[in-house]
């Protein structure tokens, strides 16, 4: 009998309910919020609308919006985590107790890093790409629209798993990269590390599929006439990013799987006994991890390239060098990973090689910065909010790049490795590069997706708060790092550190203010959407194809398939006065039908992860069988498109232009 119960319940048990007040609050608050939402939707009778417009949608723009919504909600959680971390270090000086226990602190910094990289940065990247990349290459949709939905729902399932850990079982305490042997079974028998593994595994498979989808889309769905060298830079950056995903994410899949096997099957890949080799984990995870930082930053580079050209009213300077820089980064990013562990005993020659390669990778990055500056030079620059984000980016990212090159010198890195200096470096490049880039992109393309602009002044103010907050939060960390403060400490004895930690904490408040202003900007713009309406479809005098269609972009993107002659095709048409489309050019089109398959697979994959975390083997088997059945059924359907006639298209377009 006992055995049977154990079979059914796995290791689920009452003892895993949170006990300390902080997590308990979250554990009660979160389900209540979800219940509240469900109640609200029921009350407003919106289930049907939600189901047919969103949950089953395979339209890339809708999927993109869902990615962005999830990412912004996760951003709120990630910043709350950061606030907790800095509150602790502001207070816990010189023997004083901070508000959080060491274990909570460790879970919070692990959750912070994991969420920010996988669910905020990746989410914003995929979201923005889904919204605008097909439009920019003159495509109606992704190459595999349904697979795109599957990817999104896997991402969402991973997100749910991370947050579920808050309610039940606790999260990993092993840092965002989960180094063993600390994350091995011996030192971490609970479910926390398993939550970490399986949420990333599920979301990571989604990312992998997305990478395949983006590459196929860019290679196969471009408008006629758009050769690769006539493709705008943003899709180019997405192409390179996606190739990086294809080459790097399988390594993550393997690494997490091996750690999972160590933990659930008693294997010895990374254990400290029976021949296991923890150093191999460090190598594997960084062979994925370094490309990953470029996976994040390349689309941001692409966004800035479009923005700078548009708001300077000039052709992007050095298009070809931009492309070559992207390709150089793609190649180099695979031969620098060892710089993350110079100190771990590889020897002088190996360190020298990787150090030099790391310095080399800064060259193409620098080329891009100069190209943007030359694009601005002599332009008629419109200082709209996206340009303010860009300027903030140039300043902060350059500092981050310089400190990166400093750490590329192994001798210097021995001093600052795993100190607050390193923490400052990567926040410098990730906040200054990735986050600023995505905010700039959201403000730039918002009208194309929603049909109205975002309030410009509030956007600028938000950028200003982020910039000030960033400087306050991270410049002190550089100093602290040089003073010897190691990363991930929850208390310290040197009282001279405290003022710097307090300053850093104040910085987080400013960043929170910046996010608050962004939310305010959203709310205010929705309220004033009539005044902010984008009638023309081309509010910024844009250069590329997405601005040639009405705002918001229709679900089929282009009523008439555009044919491309030049890189800045829409700009060319405007110059030559050829923006009009004749009635005779309209033809019938076919679009993919909505499908619940994405959602279903997401739910099943989430349950699958949950079942492994809690050792519910029967549930795991059910999920596997169910996924196989769903996939088989789907592949046997040959008819999955619906049809829109030329007439309908013409009338809709006529209505939109009126």
């Amino acid at each position: 009998m006992n055995e049977f119960i154990q079979f059914i319940l796995g290791r689920l048990s009452i003892e895993y309910f949170p006990k300390d007040p902080v997590t308990l609050g979250a554990a009660i608050g979160m389900p209540l919020t979800v219940l509240g939402l469900v109640g609200l939707i029921t009350y407003l009778k919106r289930w049907n609308w939600l189901w047919s417009n969103w949950l089953t949608s395979v339209d890339a723009k809708k999927i993109g919006i869902m990615y962005i919504i999830v990412a912004i909600i996760m951003l709120l959680r990630g910043v709350a985590d950061a606030g907790m971390l800095r509150l602790q270090t502001a207070l816990a000086a010189n023997g004083a107790a901070g508000p959080f226990s060491t274990d909570t602190f460790q879970q919070v910094f692990t959750a912070h890093g994991t969420i920010m990289i996988f669910f905020v940065a990746m989410g914003l990247a995929f979201g923005i790409i889904n919204c605008v990349m097909p439009l920019m290459i003159g495509a109606r949709d992704m190459a595999f629209p349904l697979l795109n939905a599957v990817s999104f729902w896997l991402f969402a399932a991973g997100m749910v798993l991370v947050n579920m850990s808050l309610v039940f079982g606790g999260f990993s305490n092993g840092g965002w990269l989960g180094y063993p042997p600390l994350t091995g079974l011996e030192y971490n028998p609970g479910p926390g590390v398993d939550y970490w593994i399986w949420s990333l595994q599920v979301a990571g498979i989604g990312s992998l599929l997305t990478g395949i989808n983006f590459v196929t889309t860019i290679l196969k769905n471009r408008a006629p006439g758009m050769t690769l060298m006539k493709m705008p830079i943003f899709p180019w950056s997405v192409l390179v990013m996606s190739v990086l995903i294809m080459l790097a994410f399988p390594i993550l899949t393997v690494t997490l799987a091996l750690l999972g096997l160590d933990r659930t099957m008693g294997m010895h890949f990374f254990t400290s006994d029976a021949g296991g080799n923890p150093m191999m984990y460090i190598n594997l995870i960084w062979a994925w991890g370094h490309p990953e930082v470029y996976i994040l930053v390349l689309p941001a580079f692409g966004i800035f390239s479009e923005i700078v050209a548009t708001y300077s009213k000039k052709v992007l300077f050095g298009y070809k060098t931009m492309v070559w820089a992207l390709l150089a980064i793609m190649f180099l990013s695979f031969i620098v990973w060892q710089h993350h562990f110079f100190t771990m005993g590889a020897g002088a020659n190996v360190n020298a090689f990787f150090g030099i390669m790391t310095m080399v990778i800064a060259v193409p990055t620098g080329v891009k910065i100069f190209n943007w500056l030359f694009t601005m030079y002599g332009g008629r620059i419109a200082f709209k909010a996206p340009m303010i984000w860009f300027l903030a980016f140039v300043v902060t990212f350059t500092i981050g790049g310089v400190t990166g090159v400093m750490m590329a010198v192994p001798a210097l890195d021995f001093q600052v490795h795993n100190t607050m200096f390193l923490v400052a470096h990567f926040h410098n490049v990730i906040i200054g590069g990735v986050v600023f880039g995505f905010f700039a992109g959201m403000m730039h393309w918002f009208p194309k997706i929603f049909g109205f602009r975002l309030h410009d002044g509030l956007g600028k103010l938000s950028a200003l708060f982020w910039l000030i907050g960033f400087i306050l939060a991270f410049i002190p960390l550089y100093i602290l790092g040089l003073m010897g403060a190691v990363r991930r400490i929850d208390s310290y004895s040197d009282p001279t550190w405290q003022p710097l930690f307090i300053t850093s904490g104040i910085g987080v408040l400013f960043i929170a203010g910046g996010i608050g202003l962004f939310v305010l900007q959203l709310a205010y713009s929705i309220w004033k959407r009539k005044q902010l309406r984008d009638e023309t479809g081309d509010p910024w005098d844009g250069r590329t194809l997405e601005w040639s269609v009405p705002s918001p972009a229709p679900h089929y993107n282009f009523a008439v398939q555009p044919v491309v002659a030049e890189r800045d095709e829409w700009w060319r048409r405007k110059q030559q006065g050829r923006t009009h489309v004749e009635r005779s050019e309209y033809v019938d089109i076919w679009l993919p039908k909505n499908s619940p398959v994405g959602l279903v697979i997401g739910v099943l994959a989430g349950l699958f992860g949950f079942s492994i975390i809690w050792h519910l083997w029967w549930l795991m088997a059910i999920c596997i069988v169910a996924i196989i059945i769903v996939v088989i059924r789907r592949t046997l359907i040959d008819d999955n498109e619906h049809h829109i006639s030329a007439n309908e298209l013409f009338h809709e377009a006529a209505k939109a232009s009126r």
Partner: protein
Amino acid sequence: MNSVTNRKIEKYEKAELGFWLYLMTDVVLFASLFATYMVLKNSTAAGPTAADILDPTYAFFETIALLASSFTAGVAVLALRFKRVRLAIGALVGTLVLGALFLTLEISEFVELVGHGHAWTQSAFLSGFFTLVATHGIHITIGLIWGSVMIAYIFKKGSTADSLRKLTLFSLFWHFLDLVWIFIFTIVYLGAHL
């Protein structure tokens, strides 16, 4: 040319490219596992070494079975192209039987090893061995399921453009698994005795 066929061809071209790209990611996946195995090969923790327990004759028969199944998979595609539906189905059944034989041999080797006390928990080398070989085995299992579905599909639809395309992707997958196995055979089984 009628536009329905056109769209279908376009869709198929995308599916084919996408599938090739997927196979590339699978190459990276197996490469990571091979690298792991090579690193851990000598970490036997006083347990048996590869030379002690890995028997190339076992693997040799597995190789024969898989190579033969690759051949029959190729025959199936050709037969379908020439509208010889029954031959195609027969060849596919042959492929699956040979694949199942391969899997049976592999599993019995595993059972034997575990029976002698050499399970994946014994040493890092054994963890690496079981994981690498079983990952390939799982792929084969997926191939068997996919192949069975293909048989049912061709049985129902006959030799259409759709069924030919679907079968081509399947055979691509199957040949790919054959290739991966050749590497396993060389590096793991023959490599054990070098």
